[in-house]
């Protein structure tokens, strides 16, 4: 499935958040979106999933305009992984992942739904937590549960909003590895907003760097994550090294202009 975003604009009240954003997502591709706080990374992801309605521009899935699709239809094609767990009431891990079957499910969950969920839990290695309450497992495991829910949706496109923001380095690598593997093995695609430039460099096929609601640079990690770009977009002096594994970034100090 191919995703195209054309000239999308979005504003909260009168504050413009996204201006003229266009991008394309190919099959079996991981697209990383990086940029400072408040540049509209999360907003862009929500606009793509039509959780927010863009003011102008269009989002096309295989040339079908998303704004003409029903909510359920969108939900069968794109899965959204929020930044962290919400909710004040108890829910077990298995019930949470079963929620991902909602776009397919009648009122009662069927045996197929349960099969699908059990398979996804196994894929992410969280079967043993299935009956636990979701608030009683660690942050890394919670993040896996949220990804599992999106996978249970059987969507072709995953939209992830900073999937690693609350995780320790091991869980960061685990979660990113899982996403990358699923994308390559199942031929789906993923867009993820990321804060950590090194994770973006390592796991994204292409990177979009955003600045103040606009796309500043786009391309493979080596072409986007440059000393100049980081200085221009983040206002940070950084070292960028490359020893064959892709660039890695060592931030040094904020630039005072």
């Amino acid at each position: 499935m191919k995703l195209k975003v054309n000239n999308v604009e979005f504003a909260y009240k009168s504050v413009s958040v996204l201006e003229d954003v266009s991008l394309e997502l190919n099959r079996a591709e991981v697209l990383g979106i990086v940029g400072p706080n408040g540049t509209g990374k999360s907003t862009l992801i929500r606009c793509i999933d039509h959780i927010l309605n863009p003011k102008r521009g269009s989002i096309l899935l295989d040339d079908h305009n998303v704004s003409k699709m029903g909510r359920m239809e969108i939900a069968r094609k794109m899965g959204y992984v929020p930044q962290s767990l919400e909710g004040v009431f108890p829910a077990s891990v298995i019930d949470t992942v079963l929620m991902g079957r909602r776009p397919y499910l009648g009122w009662k969950s069927s045996k197929e739904d349960l099969d699908c969920v059990l398979e996804v839990l196994e894929l992410l290695g969280i079967t043993e937590f299935a009956m636990r309450d979701i608030k009683e497992i660690s942050g890394g495991q919670q993040q896996k549960v949220l990804i599992a829910r999106a996978l249970a949706q059987k969507a072709n496109i995953l939209l992830l909003d900073e999937p690693t923001s609350n995780l320790d380095i091991r869980h960061q690598l685990e979660v990113m590895g899982i996403i990358k593997n699923i994308v390559k093995n199942k031929g789906i695609s993923a867009i993820m907003a990321l804060h950590d430039l090194n994770l973006a460099s390592r796991y994204a096929d292409r990177i979009i760097m955003m600045k103040e609601g606009k796309i500043f640079a786009v391309g493979n990690p080596a072409s986007v994550l440059t000393v100049e770009n980081i200085k221009e977009v983040y206002g940070v002096r950084a070292l960028v090294k490359d020893d064959g594994e892709g660039p890695y970034i060592i931030p040094l100090e904020p630039v005072t202009s």
Binding site: I74, R76, G87, F89, A91, D95, P103, W107, K108
Partner: protein, 358 residues
């Protein structure tokens, strides 16, 4: 924690999951049985001093007329006084329980109750207006009731209308609800300030929830509304589950969050207004039933809604039984008894709960 070493396999999870569902279904039947039991006890208790045999021959006589010969007193007492009251307790308790569960889930707030959207203060104002000034939108016997019902709806729909303009978020609903509650309470106070002493007393008595005013037509009306509302709420219960997991998540899984929220709140408003106008404000049921429910069967609203309703019915019928016998022949207002019984139980549950959240 040592026992957790054994990791679960897929098939174990499947069987545990199915077993858990079975347990929830069993709990529903257990509650149904308890309600019948309490109702049965309640029917045989009261100031008329009927024997258990008299009670049940009177009840069974209507079902199998050929076999029993109940006394005239028993017949009047059971069929005109006790049974309407018991059934009123069941339908009102069920309605409040389920409305509380929906309201808490929709507003994502464990402190919410069916009265959060101002229904009780609206109804109180409507009733006071009718009692104190004699003016009403409806006439005859149903003057006070009709007025209470209309003002309860008015108050809630102003809140829903206002919050709908602001994106229908739980926060705006709760805040608008509090504002309207104060407004209507203040209007009631002004009315009472200028009212005659006797009329004020009557108005205050009206607002204290009780089941003294029960009758078969009233039970039928509530039952009718309940039969319309319950299926609608149950159909929406999976969507409600998604909404408690976060608005964005729900939207990404295909739910029209704003519309669902307004629909659900409108249905519960109608249901609760219908109950409150007949019984006055019976507090606590709509607050505690959902909490007990989540402790017993978890947060899945497909089960939580019916269980909360049944628990509400059980709580209210039990409270009314206590209200009738504890100081007999004086009948205490059940609205106060629910809090007397519920509060200690509730505190106990809060102190004992294992989880750090609801």
């Amino acid at each position: 924690m040592e026992t957790k070493q054994h990791t679960l396999t897929k098939e174990e999870v499947r069987s545990q999951y199915n077993k858990l569902i079975g347990k929830k279904v069993f709990f529903i039947f257990f509650l149904l049985f308890s309600i019948i039991l309490v109702s049965g006890i309640s029917a045989s208790m009261g100031s008329a001093n009927l024997s258990i045999w008299e009670t049940y021959s009177s009840i069974l006589n209507r079902l199998f007329p050929a076999y029993f010969e109940p006394g005239w007193l028993a017949d009047v007492c059971i069929w005109n006084l006790r049974l309407p009251r018991i059934f009123m307790g069941i339908v009102a308790g069920f309605g409040l329980g389920i409305a509380g569960c929906v309201t808490q889930a929709v507003l994502k707030n464990p402190l919410a109750s069916p009265y959060t959207l101002g229904i009780s203060s609206g109804a109180g104002f409507g009733a006071s207006l009718a009692i104190l000034t004699g003016t009403s939108v409806a006439g005859g016997n149903y003057l006070v009731i009709g007025n209470a019902f209309l003002f309860a709806l008015l108050c809630s729909f102003i809140i829903l209308g206002l919050s709908n303009r602001k994106g229908a978020t739980p926060e705006t609903m709760i805040l608008a609800g509090i504002a309207m509650m104060y407004l209507f309470a203040a209007m009631t106070t002004i009315l009472q300030y200028f009212g005659e002493a006797e009329a004020v007393k009557e108005a205050v008595f009206w607002t204290v929830g009780d089941l003294d005013r029960s009758s078969w037509p009233k039970v039928t009306i509530i039952l009718g509304v309940l039969t319309c509302c319950l299926p609608l709420l149950m159909i929406k219960s999976p969507d409600l589950n998604l909404m408690t997991a976060g608005d964005e998540t729900a939207a990404s899984l295909g739910v029209n969050v704003k519309r669902t929220r307004i629909i659900l709140m409108s249905i519960t408003t109608l249901l609760v207004a219908c109950i409150v106008c007949f019984t006055g404000t019976i507090g606590f049921i709509g607050l505690v039933a959902p909490h007990f429910t989540r402790i017993a069967v978890g947060g899945d609203n497909r089960f939580a809604l019916p269980v909360s309703g049944l628990l509400g019915a059980l709580l209210l019928t039990s409270a009314d039984l206590v209200a009738r016998i504890i100081l007999a022949p004086i009948i205490l207002p059940v609205g106060a008894i629910t809090a007397f019984m519920g509060a200690p139980l509730f505190l106990y549950m809060i102190m004992k709960r294992k989880k750090e959240y609801w």
